[in-house]
């Protein structure tokens, strides 16, 4: 799960980070160079005929297939329709997860009784790989859209709820007292102080949740679906259409990357005070 690494490993970009004066090659350029090299090697080994196209088609073939898929489609749907199916599932799962996990997280962080109820439940199901309980969900809810959205929902719910609870628990008590002495009621306190204070943590939870949710979704589509990127890759593999498989994997990776970057940008925009001394 790459998003875990991204969250813990890579430093969150701070707008005013001091820039080292002298640096021959920036980190970004090293990354770009690595990518270019990788594609060049891919092209070289396929163009040189060292690897059969059945095992690894050349980049040009994958691109061509991409164009074909985007216009004509594969397995009754175009690439866009597969992509749309996957994105709408994760969008629904994420939407429901945010709507429910944030209140639950606030309750856990704020209220002893809620913590007693939800903490063990979340800690119990969270370590179970979603694919392990997918069969049970299929037995209960069939193989329709509901099962897949529910599966993603469950995968995203835990990280958001836990991150929200952490954020609520680490709210500066002096800020709470200050608001109380300005006459804040319990609800005003949550709305004006606790929720915005916890927002950076909530967004981190969403980032982690989206990473987990995306991997879960694609895996779920491999098993039980008639559309979606996971399904596209799986059915192409059955017919040894390797270029579609490679293309599918690339699209899955690019979407995950785009979501991560989008959320980081959102984080910078929504919580510009995060990391500032205040």
């Amino acid at each position: 799960m790459s998003s875990y690494e991204a969250v813990t490993g890579a430093p969150i970009a701070v707008p005013h980070a001091p820039r080292p004066v002298k640096r021959s090659l920036s980190t970004r350029w090293i990354s770009v160079l690595t990518l270019v090299t990788l594609i060049a090697v891919w092209w070289a080994v396929t163009a040189g005929g060292w690897i059969e196209p059945l095992f690894l088609p050349p980049p040009s073939a994958v691109l061509q297939k991409g164009w074909l898929l985007a216009t004509a489609g594969y397995m009754d749907s175009t690439l866009w329709q597969h992509l749309g199916a996957s994105l709408s599932r994760i969008g629904l799962g994420l939407g429901f997860a945010i709507l429910t996990a944030v209140p639950v997280g606030i309750a856990i962080g704020h209220n002893r009784i809620a913590r007693g109820i939800f903490d063990p439940l979340i800690e119990f199901y969270r370590p179970i790989p979603p694919l392990a309980y997918l069969p049970l969900i299929v037995i209960w809810c069939g193989i329709g859209e509901l099962s897949k959205v529910l599966l993603i929902y469950l995968a995203i719910f835990a990280p958001i709820a836990i991150a929200t609870a952490t954020g609520v628990r680490t709210v500066d008590p002096a800020k709470v007292r200050a608001a109380q002495s300005l006459g804040a009621t319990r609800w005003q306190l949550i709305r004006h102080v606790i929720l915005p204070s916890a927002l950076p943590d909530i967004l981190t939870g969403v980032r982690i949740g989206l990473g987990v949710g995306w991997s879960t979704l694609v895996a779920a589509e491999l098993i039980a679906a008639t559309s979606g990127l996971g399904f596209m890759v799986q059915s192409a593999a059955q017919f040894l259409v390797t270029d579609v498989v490679v293309l599918g994997i690339l699209v899955i990776a690019i979407i995950a990357f785009a979501m991560e970057m989008g959320l980081r940008a959102l984080q910078r925009k929504l919580v510009p005070w995060h990391g500032q001394a205040h």
């Binding site: 500066d172 002096a174 800020k175 007292r177 200050a178 608001a179 109380q180 002495s181 300005l182 006459g183 804040a184 009621t185 005003q188 004006h192 102080v193 915005p196 927002l199 919580v271 510009p272 005070w273 500032q276 001394a277 205040h278």
Partner: protein, 264 residues
């Protein structure tokens, strides 16, 4: 006539052997600036927390206008030592926060907030982000925010403790000017003796173990400043120095007594 009155207040943390505060009686009326001065452990912060309603006394009565104090309320505005502004809002919204909580319409509360910012000399800072401000500016915003909600009394918890010496002097003078213009009764706690003597109309000296009042003084140096005398001339006045040394001696004699007690 007293607006805020504390009658025989005591406070004890659960499980602690000795009370934090014992038998504190003090009152605060209009145009008074009551300063509680004491070393750490003398219970000054506990005293402020009791008045603010953050904690409850274990004995005694606190009343505001005759009504017992229960829990925090906008009637008792608090200025804290640390910066407790909301970083997701700009300066103007921070100052208007208390009025927003009270449901005052935007136009009205922003007008009032602008007025308060002018009072603390921060006009032109309305749309600044909180983290762009210096320590002294943040404390001014904190003061403006507490005043904007129009509290009956203003409680200040070592408001200038975290500032450098130069800024602290400026802030002391600003506070006196604000007091003169708003007529708000102020209860301020500090461990800075010079600050206490300069600001207070009424000074209570607290000693630890348990926190209790060991001396009460009525002073007029702040009023002299507001009458036009310069802060430097007041602070170098022999009478000021004498008072300061007297208070200092009282603090040390208390501490010496406590140490002798421990050794015995």
């Amino acid at each position: 006539m007293a607006l805020l009155s504390l009658e025989r207040i005591s406070a004890q943390y659960p499980g602690a052997a000795e009370p934090v505060l014992s038998d504190i009686s003090v009152s605060l009326g209009p145009q008074q600036l009551l300063v509680a001065l004491g070393p750490s452990g003398s219970g000054k912060t506990s005293l402020l927390n009791l008045i603010a309603g953050f904690v409850e006394p274990s004995g005694g009565r606190i009343t505001l206008d005759g009504a017992p104090v229960q829990g925090p309320s906008a009637e008792r505005g608090v200025v804290f030592q640390d910066d407790v502004l909301l970083p997701w809002q700009d300066v103007l919204a921070n100052v208007a926060f208390g009025l927003e909580l009270a449901g005052v319409p935007r136009n009205k509360r922003e007008d009032r907030a602008r007025e308060m910012l002018a009072l603390v000399d921060l006009s032109g800072f309305e749309s600044r982000r909180v983290w762009e401000l210096s320590g002294g500016q943040k404390q001014r915003v904190g003061l403006a925010r507490a005043l904007a909600a129009d509290p009956r009394v203003l409680l200040m918890d070592e408001p200038f403790g975290a500032l450098d010496a130069f800024t602290r002097e400026q802030m002391q003078e600003l506070l006196l000017q604000v007091c003169r213009r708003t007529d708000k009764p102020v209860f301020l706690i500090t461990h800075d003796i010079e600050e206490a003597v300069f600001l207070a109309t009424d000074l209570i000296l607290l000693a630890p173990n348990p926190g209790r009042i060991v001396e009460r003084l009525t002073l007029d140096f702040g009023q002299r400043y507001n009458a036009g005398e310069s802060a430097r001339s007041i602070k170098s006045d022999p009478r000021f120095i004498e008072t300061r040394e007297h208070v200092l001696e009282r603090v040390f004699s208390q501490r010496g007594a406590a140490q002798r007690q421990e050794r015995a």
